[in-house]
């Protein structure tokens, strides 16, 4: 009876995982197809990977996606972290107001944020392109950094900064030596989130870029009318990179801690 139940449970979870992963594996599988078909596997080949690296439009898009993601992550992480720290010190009214407005881009449907920025850029007549895309990405990433970092700063014992200054550290030294190390996990989480959000973004980039500046999402979107296994090849590469980073991020701390014999949970938190 109990065994049967376990069996059902395992089956249900497996089916769910199959549903989530089958498309990804099918995609990876057919990226090695020698034919253009995405349903009949004719034989193994790397031709779609080769054509991917010959496709200048796609390579440009990869460059745009990666460089925008890196810049947006860097800027929004710095801006968000500084703001989060400052917020805990500011007056309650200011804090509440900023946190409320900060929520707008998070709560708003993406398409509304996208067109609001599009109207804004045309209103102040900045030409749509790389710059507008970068500004927009910083605008929607920073709120997430703040929501990740702010609670960490709030948890900090006020006395710690007092203690650091009492021991002779200037406000800047206190920031670097005491505050930042302790909110590190929040900053890392915020930065990671900002990076993936920026890297994956389609809707906002689609509305605020122009003049031939395209990120990966836009290229995939424009190609979605025709079947193109190069997209599969690109997706497979992205999938592998993400899996690699995720596994690294999840298991390396685990291994390090295990070696040291400390508490696993603490490092994973």
């Amino acid at each position: 009876m109990v065994k049967e139940k376990k069996y059902v449970k395992g089956l249900c979870i497996s089916l769910c995982l199959l549903f989530l992963y089958a498309p990804l594996f099918i995609m990876a599988f057919f990226s090695f197809n020698s034919a253009k078909s995405l349903s009949h596997f004719k034989g193994f080949s790397m031709r779609w990977y080769e054509s991917l690296f010959g496709n200048i439009q796609l390579l440009d898009a990869v460059f745009v996606s990666v460089s925008i993601a890196l810049l947006a992550t860097l800027i929004s992480t710095v801006l968000g972290t500084i703001t989060a720290i400052a917020l805990t010190k500011s007056k309650r009214k200011i804090r509440t107001a900023i946190l409320q407005v900060n929520n707008l881009p998070i709560m708003n449907p993406e398409i509304v944020t996208a067109i609001s920025l599009m109207i804004f850029f045309s209103f102040i007549s900045i030409e749509k392109g790389y710059m507008t895309m970068l500004l927009a990405h910083i605008a929607f990433c920073t709120p997430y950094v703040i929501t990740n970092v702010y609670p960490k700063v709030k948890q900090l014992d006020d006395n710690l900064t007092d203690a650091a200054m009492d021991l002779g550290a200037t406000p800047f030294q206190t920031l670097v030596k005491v505050i930042l190390p302790q909110i590190k996990s929040g900053i890392m989480a915020g930065a990671l989130l900002a990076f993936t959000m920026s890297f994956d973004d389609f809707v906002i980039s689609y509305f605020v870029s122009g003049n031939g500046v395209e990120n990966i999402s836009i290229v995939i979107y424009n190609m979605s009318k025709r079947m193109n296994p190069s997209i599969y090849a690109l997706s497979t590469i992205v999938l592998v990179v993400i899996l690699f980073v995720l596994l690294l991020g999840t298991f390396v701390p685990y291994l390090i801690v295990k070696k040291r014999g400390g508490k696993v949970n603490e490092a994973l938190r």
């Binding site: 349903s39 400052a86 407005v101 929520n103 998070i106 993406e110 995939i220 997706s235 991020g249 994973l268």
Partner: protein, 297 residues
Amino acid sequence: MKQYKKLVSPYCFWLFALTIIPMMLIAFYAFTSKGTEITTFQFTLDNFFKFMDPIFLSVLMRSLVLGVLTTAICFLIGYPIAYMIAKCKENTQTILILLITIPTWINLLMRTYAWMSILSNNGIINNLLQSIGLGRVHMMYTDFAVVIGMVYNFLPFMILPIHTSLTNMDKSLTEASMDLGASRIQTFFKVTFRLSLSGVLTGITMVFLPAISAFVIPKMLGGGQYSLIGNFIEQQFITVGNWHFGSAVSLVLAVIVIVLMALIYRVEKRTNVSNEDEEGGNKRYGKRKKIRKGSMH
């Protein structure tokens, strides 16, 4: 630590320029009609009267129906799965939750693109159906394809918060319930489900809201003519070029979404003695994306 107080100002300025002004511009466009220069725009409510147009109303209805359908399917699959995962051993749970989370890290367009070839007339499903002697079924560019795509993309966002609320629950509560004579099924409905409601509500928010404003998934799996409210807005801005009407629709969409969130938040507060803090609301709204990192930290 007051020394850091002044550092708020750059972001204040930033928020004002890139969040408040853009939103005000949407409102401005929504309440005006076209002039030759922006200074000659006329105040009007016409854009909102256009909502009575049957074409627009059908778009709105369709968005709502598909949103509700997607949310219902995600809930019906997601709750049992979350419940079953919560009953696993702790290590198994960590791995399973990581597995549920990973797909959300992959570009939504890539994930949706994969479904295009699976569902297409010459796709894997149709080839399979044909090889076992059943005929081909037309699936691409239908409501079915759009709902599948949305369920596929949003399902993890239903499972993860429900799982969290189930595992955060004090085990002794179900034990107490059974001790007091409630059967397993009674315990589930009277205690477990009640206490997981906050997770359910978060899940519903995180599925329903992106579903009604979805734009890419219907476009890719529903085809060019397919129109949900998100596509309708795009058309107004890109193809039709009527920014005023497009803004009015966006404004209404934003208001609907924000009001719904506020409502759900209030319901959640009432149903659950949750330990959310001062800025608890914000925390929850941030979860949609935050949850991706759930398994990592």
